[in-house]
């Protein structure tokens, strides 16, 4: 049940930065509200104030720059899914974001919110991390860029300071990468992922004319305290270059070892680890065949 709390509605980013610099009580940002309101209903002490940033237009834009796309933190999932360049070149991101919640949730929830919530199971985080995305964090006096991979420090925990706000997600252009995302949930829709894998692969031609892998990014969701990159498996695939059956098998084995999942009400350690390998194998097959 919602109790008494303050709602502040800054009209601009500057106003918002001023408010969080001066506020004297524990607060949360209200963007889509799909996580915050649920938490607040369960636990009234979760926040004493909500800062409604959902009306700040400058946070709700997607811009194309020379070598990057800049996604405002207030961009709603629905808008991201409709953005043509992403549909064309960021299949893994589209697949992941399409699976978040339900159409109703995707109409409200924002990209910044999914990141700020810092759930190890946050579905948009894996592909963004695989594409080496960065986040811009601003306070009234500071402005810093942090790699998404370095942003999370634990479940629900990030490096964001109390007077900072996530303003942008900076996504490097990567036309040469093919990507995909797969997950397992407790049901086929409206489910929280119990394991998810993002794979992005870049290919080049060998001197002998055959295909070789020249770029590999793997991100794992819901199998560690934060979404993680599977660096060992990435390195192994990159070194081997050719996706033979034996190489793929070994990469799947490695990725299962890199996962550090827990047993909880949704699944167990062993299954989650092994499924990282299974999903990676599926994605490699899909991306290698799709070319």
């Amino acid at each position: 049940m919602l109790r008494n709390f303050k709602v502040l509605m800054p009209a601009s980013l500057n106003e918002a930065l001023y408010v969080i610099n001066n506020i004297d009580r524990p607060f949360r940002f209200l963007a889509g509200g799909t996580d915050v309101l649920v938490r607040l209903k369960d636990n009234p002490s979760y926040a004493q104030a909500l800062i409604d940033i959902s009306k700040i237009g400058e946070l709700a834009k997607i811009e194309e720059h020379k070598s990057t796309f800049v996604i405002g933190s207030g961009v709603r999932h629905e808008a991201l899914l409709a953005y043509a360049p992403f549909i064309e070149n960021y299949n893994g991101l589209i697949e992941a974001v399409s699976a978040i919640g339900s159409p109703q949730i995707r109409a409200l929830a924002t990209v910044g919110g999914n990141i700020g919530n810092a759930s190890p199971a946050g579905d948009s985080i894996g592909p963004l991390m695989a594409f080496d995305a960065e986040v811009e964090l601003r306070s009234q006096d500071t402005n810093r860029i942090v790699k998404l991979e370095d942003f999370f420090t634990g479940p629900g925990k990030t490096v964001l300071k109390h007077n900072e706000i996530i303003t942008k997600i900076i996504l490097p252009k990567s036309d040469s990468l093919k990507s995909g995302w797969k997950r397992l949930g407790q049901r086929r829709a409206v489910a929280i992922s119990k394991v998810s894998v993002t794979l992005a692969l870049g290919f080049a031609k060998h001197s002998n004319g055959s295909d070789r892998v020249n770029d590999v990014r793997i991100a794992l969701g819901a199998v560690a305290p934060t979404v993680i990159r599977a660096r060992k498996a990435e390195k192994f695939l990159l070194e081997n270059q050719t996706l033979t059956k034996a190489v793929v098998k070994e990469a799947c084995r490695l990725v299962a070892k890199e996962a550090r999942p827990i047993t909880d009400i949704r699944s167990n350690t062993e299954y989650r680890s092994e499924m990282c390998g299974v999903l990676l194998g599926d994605l490699i097959e899909k991306l290698a065949c799709a070319r």
Binding site: M1, L2, R3, R187, R188, A189, Y271, V278
Partner: protein, 777 residues
């Protein structure tokens, strides 16, 4: 056999649209939380946070100091008796000295707003002396720790048929044994439990979401120390029940009524989802030991069963739920030698009670799994084996009930096989599974059931129903029955029955929700009994009215009463249908002639004879039957299951409304699929961990199969127009048939429900590694 006689009726048997659809679609239906009254207070229950302990002290003082708090009630504030047990007196309305499960209410707060009530609930201080809890049926049956002073056995039903069971097994050609376990299932009705109590006329009126307004009436009267006539229960539109609102709402209504009665203000008590999940009853978890002997010719000759059921901290409805388990554990089969022990046990966990199927889906899962094991081992056809052992007219069930009428089991088996194209699919699936390059395994599963209609031998005293019909002078009709519409379509089906019997248009009928001041105690809306019980009660009233209308029509048309026929708003000359008088005009004529057109109806379920000592006799007067065939696909690498199709053949006697019957089957399938492969209530040390919709996961439409429902209409002589019930049978074969299909795909009979991907993967993995090893050798 099914005969395709032409339907002589004009409303019964037709696809009539739901009479309550419009108001629900436009948002006009009023659920209990939509009600508001002046000066209404909001109540919140305060519940135990430990599974077992002695209460040392409850301190209300901090809560009472909070502005806006109208009252904090504990056991000592109860004006009547501190008891709530529906069948057995072992449960207090508010815990006084002992708490027996995490979630047991010990206080209830009323305040001016919901928010204040919630805050106040957090300010009530309780000191416990924690006790070691009993958390499993094995711990409970050992009796090392007693949940109640009298011991841990809630009930023990025995069924003994035929010779000494061990000798019978000695004569079997082959004997199979296996132990199965099954978890809770939560009802997860869309609308959580709730009610509003109003002090009125020196008594109390309670509005709410109930399956049995008469249980609520009794519980409120007991708690307040009032005569029943001072307690009026008014049924609201119900957002789903599934058994969860049979006896359980009495607990909340009695608390709200107590606050309202003492504080002299309306009180609303609505449970939020987390509290509803924590404190309300569930389907019984069970441990089921099965042993089946078969003859060379494919007959089951001996069955030995021991079931340990987790009843939780209080009896609630366990004694009647487990009675049903004791009748249905052998399935719809003829088995000459049977020994069954169904034991309900107290634990320090949430009380378990009624849930669609009432103690049978669990034992059906075990029994039908045994049949699957037998057929796979012997290479017997699963349909032929079931037919070879099936109940039919003249045969006797495991309780020695000789079936006299309305038994379409064999027809359901034949229809399910044919309509599912089982034989064709089986060949395709065998070929698919032989291809090692395929990512998935496909499987088919079969299950047959029977289900005793109405409350049966253990509940015959409750098995009555009343009705009231009034025809107004303009020909419009008001109906009131004692069973409730909770989403199942009762209003529509009952309106069809009344319309057919009265000869009026269905649009003339206006349904009044249950009001205990209008209709007599009609028992609960459970046991798939509403169509039969309230239908017959309506027929009783309607036939009295029809007699009067026929006499009036005969007078108008100047013909003999025997020559009058009625349908769809016209009373006409049987020889010349153009000679008629309209229902409306007849009603007007009767009004002016001072012929009263208001009648009560009453119906009592046929009496049955049953011996509880031996578990032999007629437990129920008649049975519904069904057979289901399920197609599944299992991912070899992830263990995920896709339930692709279910074909369900049901014998429910006369189908009153084919459209609603199919819808009922689809709902049962969805709920059964969730139970079989998805819904996993996790408990840790007596605390339920899955207290929300993101953790207690039920199927979405994407998880539900295509459903093909077909009907066998072997009519029952005691049912209205030959009808039997469908509410529970629609769910009952689903779990067993899904699990059999998954088991046949995976090549392993799954011994625990829900069958989760984690377990399937583990099994397939073990198989793989042993196959790999044998390849090396």
């Amino acid at each position: 056999m099914l005969t395709k006689k032409q339907n002589l009726y004009s409303v019964v048997g037709k696809k009539v649209n739901r009479v309550d659809a419009y108001e629900k679609i436009v948002g006009g239906a009023r659920y209990v939380d939509d009600l508001a009254f002046e000066d209404m207070l909001f109540a919140k229950m305060v519940c135990s946070t430990i599974p077992s302990g002695r209460i040392k002290k409850i301190d209300k003082s901090r809560a009472l100091k909070l502005k806006g708090v109208a009252g904090v009630f504990t056991a000592e504030d109860i004006t009547g008796l501190n008891k709530i047990g529906c069948v057995v007196d072992d449960q207090p309305l508010l815990a006084k000295e002992t708490v027996r499960f995490a979630g047991e209410p010990f206080a209830v707060v009323a305040a001016e707003t919901r928010e204040i009530a919630e805050e106040a609930a957090g300010l009530i201080d309780i000191e416990y002396e924690p006790l070691e809890p009993v958390l499993t049926v094995d711990e409970s049956v050992s009796e090392k720790i007693k949940v109640h002073p009298k011991g841990n056995v809630v009930c023990h039903y025995k069924v003994r048929k035929g010779d000494n069971i061990d000798e019978a097994f000695n004569k079997s050609f082959k004997v199979y044994e296996k132990t199965f376990t099954i978890n809770y299932q939560e009802h997860l009705y869309l609308e959580t439990q709730g009610c509003v109590a109003l002090p009125e006329n020196e008594g109390i009126t309670v509005y709410g979401s109930f399956q049995c307004p008469f249980y609520v009436q009794g519980a409120v009267a007991t708690a307040l120390g009032l005569p029943l006539a001072k307690v009026r229960i008014l049924q609201c539109v119900v957002g789903g029940g599934f058994g969860g609102k049979e006896d359980v709402p009495s607990e909340y209504a009695a608390k709200a009524a107590l606050l309202a009665y003492v504080l002299k203000k309306p009180v609303k008590l609505i449970l939020d989802r987390a509290q509803d999940l924590m404190v309300s009853s569930k389907r019984h978890p069970m441990k089921m030991e099965y042993k089946v002997g078969v003859t060379k010719k494919g007959k089951m000759n001996a069955l030995k069963v021991r079931v340990l059921a987790d009843s939780g901290a209080y009896t609630t409805l366990s004694t009647v739920v487990l009675f049903r388990s004791s009748v249905h554990f052998g399935g719809p089969y003829v088995i000459p030698h049977v020994s069954g022990d169904i034991i309900g046990l107290y634990t320090n966990r949430v009380p378990c009670g009624a849930y669609r199927g009432f103690g049978t889906p669990q034992v059906i899962y075990a029994m039908e799994s045994m049949i699957n094991i037998i057929c796979n081992d012997m290479g017997w056809d699963p349909f032929e084996f079931r037919k070879n052992n099936a109940l039919k007219k003249g045969a006797s069930s495991i309780t020695s009930h000789k079936i006299k009428e309305s038994c379409g089991l064999i027809e359901t088996i034949d229809k399910a096989r044919k309509e599912s194209e089982y034989d064709k699919r089986k060949k395709e699936f065998d070929k698919w599974n032989a291809d090692k390059s395929k990512r998935t395994l496909k499987g088919l599963g079969v299950s047959s059931i029977f289900y005793g209609m109405n409350l049966g031998a253990k509940g015959w005293f409750y098995d009555k129903a009343g009705s009231h019909i009034q025809i107004c002078r303009d020909g419009s009709v008001t109906l009131c029955v004692g069973n409730v519409e909770m989403g199942q379509g009762a209003k529509t089906v009952l309106a069809q029955i009344a319309s057919e019997a009265l000869g009026c248009e269905i649009s003339a009928i206006n349904f009044t929700n249950v009001d205990t001041n209008i209709v007599p105690d009609s028992g609960p809306t459970v046991a798939s009994r509403t169509t039969v019980m309230s239908g017959n009660a309506l027929l009783d009233a309607a036939n009295k009215l029809r007699k009067k209308l026929v006499a009036a029509a005969a007078e108008s048309l100047k013909i003999k009463p025997g020559q009058v026929m009625a349908k769809l708003g016209k009373y006409y000359n049987i020889k010349d249908s153009h000679q008629f008088v309209s229902f409306k005009d007849l009603a007007g004529k009767c009004y002016l002639d001072n012929v009263g057109l208001s009648e009560m109806g009453y119906y009592v379920s046929p009496k049955v004879e049953y011996d509880l000592q031996s578990g032999q006799g007629e437990p129920y007067y008649v049975y519904s039957y069904a057979t289901a065939v399920t197609e599944v696909e299992v991912d070899k690498k992830t263990g995920e299951v896709r339930v692709n199709k279910m074909t369900c053949a049901h014998d429910i006697g006369r189908v009153i409304n084919p459209m609603l019957a199919s819808a009922q089957v689809e709902g049962g399938v969805a709920q059964g699929v969730g139970y079989a492969i998805m819904e996993n209530m996790v408990s840790e040390k007596g605390h339920i961990k899955t207290l929300g919709l993101s953790t207690y996961v039920i199927p979405t439409t994407k998880d539900c199969p295509e459903v093909k429902s077909v009907f066998v209409e072997d009519k029952s002589k005691d049912g209205p127009y030959g009808a039997k019930g469908l509410g529970e049978p629609s769910l009952m074969p689903v779990v067993a048939s899904v699990v059999n299909a998954v088991s046949n795909a995976a090549g392993h009979q799954f011994e625990h429900v829900p069958v989760l991907p984690e377990r399937i993967w583990e099994v397939l993995n073990e198989k793989n590694s042993s196959e790999d090893e044998s390849e090396v050798k």
